[in-house]
């Protein structure tokens, strides 16, 4: 029974992610229309055979913009995860491996960061770094750090007393080498799960910030930003919101499904 659900997650999740990934790759080479080309007389045309998702307030093809928007979503997600994993694993690893007051200090700091509701911290950081793709990713990356650090820490704590670590210590392997060469591979599965969830959260958060006008800025295409623009025309052109909203939801859904599937496969105990 569980396996059935798990497989559905794996299959559907993979299809979705692969589909969007393909879409992103294709969008580098081909879009049905030029994404920035304006056709003002044909603005806000409801979905039709020429423009399957309609046109926006400048007469640009929404479908093409959705395609290109996937680039932004992936870039922000990826940058966020890289920042989160690099700093999270370093902080969590050091805290878990060294222990003592270093552990206490780092973890209290991570607790403090986690105490902020996510969007509040994101807004505060974006206010500091300013808007834009890179700045948004930095802000979201910082938010991803504590969670990954916690996962990494608990992994390192578990493994630092393990026999293979003791053995390595005895033969005089340097601590840094033990941490990254010996322990890290053993905790990587938990980190991958945490990272994949961070990826999904980052995409949602990017959309939210862009919707609030504080994330990705035009002309960079962003699904969240498209929703912000669409809201101005909600009464007359409600269909404008369907494509960007649907794209965010489906992609994030795919990521959650996949990360659940990965977690179940790598760590069968977590099912309960």
């Amino acid at each position: 029974m569980k396996r059935y659900a798990k497989n559905i997650n794996l299959v559907v999740g993979s299809i979705i992610i692969f589909g969007f990934f393909l879409m992103m790759i294709v969008s580098f080479f081909y879009t049905p229309y030029d994404v920035t080309a304006m056709d003002i007389p044909n603005k806000l045309k409801a979905p039709n055979t020429e423009h399957i998702f309609g046109t926006d307030e400048f007469g640009r093809d929404i479908f093409s913009r959705i395609l290109v928007g996937s680039q932004t979503a992936f870039v922000v997600g990826l940058l966020t995860v890289i920042i989160g994993v690099v700093f999270g694993v370093t902080i969590g690893g050091i805290a878990g491996f060294i222990g003592g007051w270093v552990d206490e200090l780092f973890m209290r700091l991570m607790d403090a960061l986690m105490a902020f509701p996510g969007i509040i911290l994101a807004l505060m950081l974006v206010a500091v770094f300013g808007p834009g793709i890179v700045n948004t990713s930095i802000a979201l990356g910082i938010i991803a750090i504590p969670n990954i650090a916690r996962v990494a820490r608990s992994g390192f704590v578990q493994h630092k007393e393990a026999e293979y670590v003791m053995a390595a210590r005895l033969i005089g392997v340097k601590p840094l080498k033990i941490m990254f060469k010996h322990i890290l591979p053993n905790v990587s599965s938990q980190i991958i799960v945490a990272a994949s969830i961070a990826f999904a959260i980052a995409m949602l958060a990017e959309a939210a910030l862009s919707y609030l006008g504080l994330g990705v800025q035009p002309p960079d295409p962003s699904w969240g930003r498209m929703l912000k623009d669409a809201q101005a025309y909600l009464i007359g052109s409600p269909w404008y919101t369907y494509a960007p909203g649907g794209a965010i939801t489906i992609l994030v859904l795919g990521l959650y499904m996949l990360s659940n599937a990965i977690r179940d496969i790598m760590d069968p105990r977590s099912k309960a």
Binding site: T36, M38, I40, G130, L214, Q217, P218, P219, A232, Y233
Partner: protein, 519 residues
Amino acid sequence: MFKRKYWLVLALLFVMFIISACSEEGTETNTENEGEKETATATPAGPQEIRVRVNDDPDFLDPHRATASLSFQQILNMFEGLFLPQPDGSLTEGLAESYEVSEDGLTYTFKIRQGVKFHNGDPLTTDDVVYTFERLMGLNGGEKLSKNFDNVASIDAPDATTFVMTLKEPNSNFLYSLTALQSAILPKSNDGKHNENPIGTGPFAFAKYSPGTNLELKKNEEYWQEGLPYLDKVTFVYQSDDQAAVMNLLAGEVDLTGVPGHRVAEVEGSFNISHQNNNSSLIITFNEEKEPFNNLKVRQAINMAISKQDIIDSIFSGYATPQGSNMSPAMGDYYLDGLQDVYSFDVEKAKKLLAEAGYPDGFKTKITVSSHNDMYPNIAQIAVENLKQIGIDVEIETVEWGIWLERVYFGRDYEMTTIDLTGRPSAYEILNDYISTNDNENFFRFKNDEYDQVMADVLKETDREKQIEYYQRAQEILTEQATAVYIADYEILWGSKKNITGLKSYPFWFHDMKEVKFN
């Protein structure tokens, strides 16, 4: 059996919540009753009360400290200056009953209007007038609040009804600094409380301010202009979202609001729509100290490559007047018509000009825009598309308003930008941004000797016809020099209830409620 148990648990939980919810509501009902009483006494449901939607809070209620046009849009209902601005851009006597200017143009003598009362009941005296200008000039111990009176050598009140100002140099535009926009007359007795409890002589008096929510004004029963105002109460309601504002108008929650162009059709049938030329100028401009924008031909090429009509159609749904300089037709006689057609949209000609300027393949540049209003990034996107056609590759950099101000407006560290220059009642102030010595406002870094001369000469000219000639020449220079891409003066479309009359539109932001009434 087992099933039933669970439903019992469920039912109990429900009961629990209902009880807690009820007790919560119980306490709420008490405050509600109080609230109802309060609103019932404060606002009897009379018809002569208007709710006007405004985008944002005033920066200050103190008219000497306020700088945003949005603030004056509201607070000018409370304050008056020695002169009152008129809808056609001229001035009439306000708190000054009459005035005289000496031959040399240096001494201004005003007779102060008698029988005027401040909202607190105190009569207006020359002491208050002196106090007002001393406060603005920083002469009575406080900080200097305005630069407008740097040219004033002395002020004096020789008797109870006379007020005299002496200038260091003649300035034909001086009277324009004597309206409530620059020098609202404030009562001396209210010193130190002008922001918390503003008091003026205007047709409406301050009642209550709730930041982010509204500003309530009440009728000034003792207003010096007989029979005015008609309204008992004016409430400025803050709503930054244009779309929401339209819904509020449709729902009857506000009586007057600006309506975005694309939603006029929804509103038109059941509401009045009045078109106001905003007297502002939406521009795309360049840092004229930097290459390649120091090249006239480059600026002209950009002027020809940008389709003003595209911008007007998409951003303003067609409701805007194309311009050739930042003087708007709203300024009447001062406006020089025809300039808007000098650089008509012509890609081929633009390319040729660019080649002549030494950039046959175009160049790369950056346009820095503020994100605080979607209009700016949107205009930038259109401009980028237009300029692509003549080979200019423009990158859009979107920054927050604060950073835009710091980096572009004050720091002048930019290549291209877009902004709207807000309207002012005086032609001189509309055009003085470009004077090369006006470091404060000339973020274009525009420098033209003839322009500086014209603007200096006009201050010495007392004849209105000749002033107009100078101002028109100044506009011509701006167009000839392609100082900026003057896109348009966009209209503000006011949607109002059909039974409202007496709305006036000024060449600056002012919701004048003095003669407004419900029929």
